[in-house]
């Protein structure tokens, strides 16, 4: 590498390519790599794609599962739009989902004690309160990361990771300790709630109208806030240059804290939906890694909430389709994560190539 003549590192012919060529080229390389990895594992790429697609959309049950994955994913992604636009990498989103789920479980156990035969309040009200407490729990965990970052000057990445470990530790402690099942405690989680406390579903599927409704509402609000409000504008100003924003009279601290707060509320809602809509109990991996997947979604769309929905649908379908692989082809379901990761990685690289070299 010759450091004194940097302009010659790129052949002149390449310099005239339009940005789209770099992005398209990166996408093609990502697809080729995915194919290569599938071939290495001894399977046919086309068969795998076919099985994953049919595994996501063939039956109402499967479509329901895609929607059930989509709802918490959208909530996390919508929340992360705020933190990303404020210039924050909120890796703590996983913990915010988990703590929201813990809070919801706490509220439901309070309103429907184990020895009782019915909940103290009417079931719909109990569920609503449970979801509300979940949102508050997520908010608390988000604010905690925010306070550590804003007032403690700790990288939000490590504050978030630490709070993730703490939330998981707490969930495991509760599941094996105070909230253990009568009889034997196990990784399968707490005693399932009474069916009166389960969220209603679309037919016999796993998808809940309330979960989907909340998720779409959160995303719609986020789109409006980011495009049409002063708040969204100030958030982006702080994200682009906190010092300049401060000089121009935007209180950076308050903006950063509100980004953490909103993201925490949405992630907490996701955790609540996981408890009352999907698992009907608290399990150690209650977040199903959907918080981290939300980070990937928002990175792929370059923090623009308008594109979150299609990408989130696609990623949810990949997750559900991937579950078919062990059954039909004897492959590991984590291929969906490999595909998502490679697509996002090469989108970032394509964007970088276009910025650096495109004419």
């Amino acid at each position: 590498m010759n450091s004194t003549v940097p302009s010659q590192t790129v052949p002149p012919a390449l310099e005239r390519l339009p940005p789209l060529a770099y992005r398209g080229g990166a996408l093609i390389i990502a697809l080729l790599l995915i194919g290569l990895i599938v071939v290495i594992s001894g399977a046919s790429p086309f068969e795998v794609i076919g099985r994953m697609f049919s595994g996501a959309v063939s039956t109402p049950d499967q479509i329901g599962r895609v929607v059930a994955t989509l709802s918490p994913l959208l909530l996390c992604a919508a929340g992360l739009v705020y933190t990303f636009n404020a210039g924050l990498y909120n890796l703590g989103v996983e913990g915010q989902v988990t703590f929201g789920a813990i809070a919801t479980t706490f509220a439901l156990r309070l309103l429907y004690p184990e020895e009782a035969t019915a909940s103290i309040l009417p079931p719909p009200l109990t569920i609503a309160l449970g979801i509300l407490v979940g949102a508050l729990g997520g908010m608390l965990w988000g604010l905690l990361a925010g306070v550590l970052h804003v007032y403690g000057r700790i990288s939000e990445i490590f504050a978030g990771l630490g709070l993730n470990f703490a939330a998981t530790g707490m969930a495991i402690y509760l599941i094996f300790g105070p909230w253990k099942r009568p009889g034997v405690a196990s990784l399968s989680g707490t005693q399932p709630f009474d069916e009166s406390l389960w969220l209603g579903t679309f037919g016999q599927t796993e998808a809940t109208p309330v979960g989907l409704g909340l998720a779409l509402l959160a995303l719609a609000v986020t789109i409006v806030v980011m495009r049409n409000t002063h708040f969204g504008l100030r958030l982006r100003a702080v994200g682009k240059n906190p010092y300049a924003a401060h000089v121009l009279g935007v209180p950076a601290r308050r903006q950063l804290l509100s980004a953490f707060l909103v993201c925490g509320v949405f992630a907490g809602l996701a955790g609540a939906i996981q408890v009352v809509g999907v698992f009907h109990r608290l399990i150690p991996s209650i977040s199903s890694n959907l918080g981290f997947l939300g980070l990937l979604v928002v990175m792929l769309v370059n923090f623009d909430p308008l594109w979150v929905l299609p990408v989130a649908i696609f990623f949810s379908a990949l997750n559900v389709g991937g579950l078919q692989l062990p059954l039909s082809l004897g492959l590991e379901s984590s291929l969906s994560g490999v595909i998502q990761g490679l697509l996002v990685l090469f989108a970032l690289i394509g964007r970088g190539l276009a910025q650096r070299y495109a004419g």
Binding site: M1, S3, P6, S7, I37, I40, S41, Y89, L91, L148, Y151, G152, R153, I154, S155, I157, F158, A159, L161, G162, F165, A166, T168, G169, I172, Y173, I175, F176, G177, K180, A185, L187, P284, F292, L295, L296, M299, L331, E332, S334, L335, S336, G337, V338, Q340, G341, L342, V344, L345, L348, I349, R351, G352, L353, Q355, R356
Partner: protein
């Protein structure tokens, strides 16, 4: 608890921390050059998987370590290309790679889950040194060649950083890349080189798990260790000796946790596996600049200065920032 028991706990802690030493020092080297390799979680896990598979198929553990090192270099190459050449967010690229490599290790390593494989052969105590009271049994009767190699790595890296001209240049490209460039150093090339070497060490850390200290392969075999390595580097203030101390402290927490597991019945055992991670991050939070300054301001001036010098650390000034030489 008598002194032999304590000695055993500490000696175990040193062995437990050994793979982490490799990962932490790899990250330290990378970050000293001004690049954050946030992919550690994935790199260590993929290194563990590839190391195990290569050692299993070739029936040679050392080829396993070589394979793991190559994987670490390749992942680091992506980080370096994205961060140094394309000037994209190092956090974004590293984080995506952390998730991607973890999933890749699960997918490709699936046929190798829970099967017996080769392990690193035991080594002998180091003669003469093992006779030193306390230190001998603690450090030099470990019976594992990787533990001894990690000592050499810690001392070697410290010497390189602070006692050689090349080490001075390394620190310069992490602190003042523009000044280093003006003095004729190839900042871009050196950053690439150190990122790749750091990646190799992280890959080796993975193989140290799967071929020695946590022998075998299972899904998410090294889950959590990459993230904790990143935290320990900050805790250790980017100084190889202090980073190693941080890794050993984590090892002590882990051994204490496994001791506590048997004596405290009320707390579920699974909590103890998470506890060291939480404690380590808490320590990081409490010792980082903001709180520390406030605490120190209550102390008398003399004590404040010495304490500040030993406790406070600052990251390489140009950490995470791309270098634009044109």
């Amino acid at each position: 608890m008598d002194s032999t028991q304590l000695l055993i706990i500490l000696a175990t802690a040193i062995a437990t921390a050994t793979p982490l030493i490799f990962a932490c020092l790899g990250e330290t080297l990378t970050e000293r050059a001004g690049v954050i390799n946030l992919s550690a979680e994935g790199t260590v896990m993929l290194g563990a998987m590839v190391g195990f598979v290569v050692a299993k198929t070739t029936e040679n553990v050392w080829l396993g370590f070589a394979g793991a090192a190559i994987v670490g270099v390749l992942v680091a190459l992506v980080v370096a290309f994205g961060a140094i050449t394309l000037r994209q967010s190092q956090i974004a690229i590293g984080f995506v790679l952390a998730l991607l490599c973890s999933d890749l290790s699960s997918y490709l390593g699936n046929p190798y889950v829970r099967i017996p494989g080769p392990t690193v052969p035991p080594a002998f105590p180091i003669p003469i040194l093992e006779a030193i009271p306390v230190l001998g049994p603690l450090f030099f009767r470990q019976g594992d060649v990787l533990v001894y190699a990690s000592y050499a790595l810690i001392a070697g890296m410290w010497f390189y950083f602070y006692r050689t001209r090349a080490g001075l240049t390394l620190r310069a490209i992490g602190e003042q890349p523009a000044a280093a460039f003006v003095r004729g150093h190839n900042v871009i090339g050196l950053r690439y080189a150190y990122t790749l070497i750091g990646g190799a060490l992280m890959g080796i850390a993975g193989a140290a798990f799967s071929l020695d200290f946590k022998a075998g392969w299972s899904h998410r075999h090294t889950a959590g260790y990459g993230w904790i390595a990143l935290a320990i580097v900050i805790f250790g203030g980017w100084n190889p000796l202090r980073v190693a101390f941080g890794a050993y402290l984590f090892g002590v927490l882990q051994s204490l946790a496994s001791v506590a597991q048997s004596s405290i019945q009320d707390v579920p055992t699974q909590v103890f596996t998470v506890a060291p991670f939480i404690l380590m991050i808490l320590v990081l939070v409490l010792t980082s600049a903001g709180w520390l300054d406030r605490l120190l301001s209550y102390l008398p001036v003399n004590a404040r200065r010495t304490l500040a010098r030993t406790l406070r650390t600052s990251p390489p000034a140009a950490l995470g920032r791309p270098f634009e030489q044109d």
